[in-house]
Each structure stands twice: as structure tokens, then as C-alpha cells.
Symmetry: C2
Subunit: 206 residues, 2 copies
DNA sequence: TTCTGTGAATAGGTTCACAGCT
DNA sequence: AGCTGTGAACCTATTCACAGAA
């Protein structure tokens, strides 16, 4: 497939949310202009984004809400559910385990790991925290595509190596380091402090 | 000032982190190539990013670590501390209140608000949760530049309007809606489910 | 007539490559 | 000799504008 930019993918996710909202309102048809207004972009951008994957609209009419919803879910890989493991039973980990947005979208946090013996065995949102030393064995028994790394920086690379060894193919990383992974593994890093710094930059440079 | 792209700002934040690490190792000088290696970019990119703000290096030598650190802290608006208020005393709010990365960078979470009477009055990391109805009055007494919105979607716009009324100029938004704000207020939205969807897209389109 | 789909034009961001300072 | 600073070249993303389907 042709190379799709990250910003296109993010917009597709947004369009999908808007479509779900439109569907809830009982609308059956939507134009690129309406999607654009919601997404703070342009109608041409919406049409271009969609055009990378085919032509789903009807000229003079717009897009069928249920049809485009289905196509976007398909494009974004959301027609299936994902088993997700979470490594790091700290505050952020705890918040993510019960984050409703994940389950709604088919991302099921199925296991939590930590290295701290005081945390191992405790319950988090119905899941028993397991010792991280079991992780490779567990992953081999229960194939898992996605992991969320919420460990301190010093543990993150080691954990990542074990995740890769266990067959994980995508990692959402909250640790403030760049993770080294083989070419067939995708990493997406989120860094809250960095987000705040884009704000302080904006405040300082008005 | 000339328009600086978001990706340049993000890279500057990263360079600052690397510089701090180099400083801790006792290095006093660093080349654009070394910064590039750490940041998974190119030396030309590093130099170009810096060149928007001046010329801080010495030809043949590289950059002085303490000097460039100071310049970046200045550029990113990190020479001062920021009073930050957090709205929404849920799981994610709780995790963010004690997130060490914020305080390290000079972002001080100084107050937490919630609308739920059962949460109001409880203690979170040493702070007493206040009723959100006091927020405008509090902000007028204690001018605050940055707010973090961690409420459910249905409350986020209302809270945002109050923050703006109270003089907040930058908002880090975790609620899954686009916030409407006046032109002089910056909003940066973070959406975890959307990040996971970029991963499922990558898995589905290999 | 309305709104899509898409080449062409434009804008924006990245990389190249080299002159010039240390 | 080594590494910066920066125009120019290149590449990618967005916007324009219009032909064509409903």
C-alpha cells in the first residue's frame, strides 16, 4: 500500500468518532464539509484522506454514515479486538487499565505486570498484577499484539526486549526514552511533559 | 517571530532532555550529529531547528552544553515556573497530579477541581479537591497560565469557558472533544485511544 | 445542482551540500 | 580538519479548482 502519513491516520480516527456521533443523531448521510467542520480541517483534506483508500462517497450527496463508518473501522484495523498487556502498575498504569476509551474501541487490557514484589499479586480493576519475569512465557501462551509500557525509564528498554521476544508487534510507550525495536515492531511514544512544553513554548513566544 | 512548526518545538524539547543527560555525564560540548543520533533525526535537522532562534554553536567544535541548555530553556519558556490547575479528580487526574515529569520541568499543579461532591474536600497528593464552582474566583485571585482538563467530554467545554474567563492561556486537554477557545488561548489535546488506533492501523496495514 | 474525486498548484518541512568560522 | 549555519534542492502535505457522477 502507498505510504500514508501519520496525520492522515489521526484524522481518519477523528472522522470515525464524528461519524459515530452523527449516527447516534440518526443522520444517515454526511458531506466532507460537515466532517471538515467538526475536525477543524477542510473538505478537500477529508476527501483526499479518504481517497487514499478508495472512493466511498456519492457525488452530489455525500457519504453514507454507516458505510463510511464500516470502511474506516476496517482501514484502522478496528474490526477485531486486541489483547493488550500493560507493564508498570503505577499511577498512570492504574489510570489506563480502567480507561473506558480503550475497551470501547476493542482494546482489551488482559494482563498487568510489575517488578515490585509489593505490587505483584494485588488486584487492579479485577486483574491480578503478575511478576514481570513471567511475561515472555505468558505472551507465548497468549499471543498479544499490543503492549503499553508505563515503567520508569531505566526499566523500559529491558521490558521492551522481553515484549518483542514474546511476539508483541506494537508498543504504546509512556516512558521518557526512545525504545529500540526491530523493524517489524511499531512504537508510539507519548510524553506528557513534552506536551506541556509545547504549551509553555506557545506562551513564551506570543 | 517567524512561524515555528510543532515538530520543531517537540524536537527542541527532546534536545533539551539529551543535553541534560550529557551534562550529567560531565560532557561540556556536543555536536549536532550527537544530538541527532539520540533524537533519531539528522544533524542538518538539528542545526536547522536551532537556526530559527539564532546561532549558538562554534564551527569546528559544536555546542556548549550549558549554554545550549540555557538557550533551549529560554526558547521553550522554561526559565520560569508555571502554576497549573487540574480539573477532574478521576483516575487520570490523580495520575497526573503526582507525575514527577511536570514538577521537574517547573509545572506546579497548585489546585484540583471536581464537580462531584463526594470528591470535593478529599486530599490528592497533599491538595484538597475544590468544588469546580469556585474556579473562576480562585483563578482571579491566583493568576494561572496553564490548566489541564481531565473531565468527561460533556463537562469539558463548560469547564474550558470558565478557565478562559479566569484568564487561563493554555490548556492541556484529555477530554475526547475539540475545545472552542478564543484565539489567544492555546489548546493541546491528548487522546490515548487515538494513539492506540495509530498502532492498530499500523498492524492492519503491514 | 450538489458534492465527490483527483490532477495541478502551492505551501511547508526536510535534506543536501558547501562556504566560512574556529 | 572539523563542525556550524544556511541557501538551494528536494520531498511531502495541503489546498485549489474543476470535470464528472448522482
Amino acid at each position: 500500500m502507498r505510504k500514508i502519513s501519520g496525520s492522515t491516520v489521526r484524522r481518519l480516527s477523528l472522522y470515525l468518532r464524528f461519524l459515530e456521533q452523527f449516527d447516534a443523531l440518526g443522520k444517515t448521510t454526511i458531506s466532507s464539509a460537515e466532517l471538515a467542520r467538526r475536525g477543524a480541517t477542510t473538505s478537500a483534506q477529508v476527501r483526499k484522506d479518504l481517497s487514499f483508500f478508495g472512493s466511498f462517497g456519492k457525488r452530489g450527496l455525500g457519504y453514507s454514515v454507516p458505510e463510511l463508518t464500516a470502511r474506516l473501522r476496517d482501514i484502522l484495523g478496528l474490526k477485531r479486538t486486541y489483547r493488550v498487556v500493560l507493564v508498570g502498575a503505577g499511577r498512570i498504569g492504574g489510570a489506563l487499565v480502567q480507561y473506558p476509551g480503550f475497551r470501547q474501541r476493542g482494546f482489551h487490557v488482559a494482563a498487568i505486570y510489575d517488578r515490585d514484589p509489593r505490587k505483584v499479586g494485588s488486584r487492579w480493576n479485577g486483574l491480578v498484577v503478575r511478576d514481570v519475569r513471567h511475561i515472555v512465557g505468558d505472551l507465548k501462551k497468549e499471543p498479544t499484539d499490543i503492549a503499553i509500557v508505563v515503567t520508569p525509564a531505566d526499566a523500559a528498554q529491558d521490558v521492551t526486549d522481553q515484549l518483542v521476544q514474546g511476539g508483541v508487534k506494537a508498543i504504546l510507550n509512556f516512558a521518557p526514552i526512545r525504545l529500540a525495536v526491530p523493524a517489524d515492531v511499531v512504537v508510539k511514544s507519548v510524553n506528557m511533559a513534552l506536551e506541556l512544553e509545547t504549551l509553555s513554548f506557545a506562551l513564551a513566544n506570543r
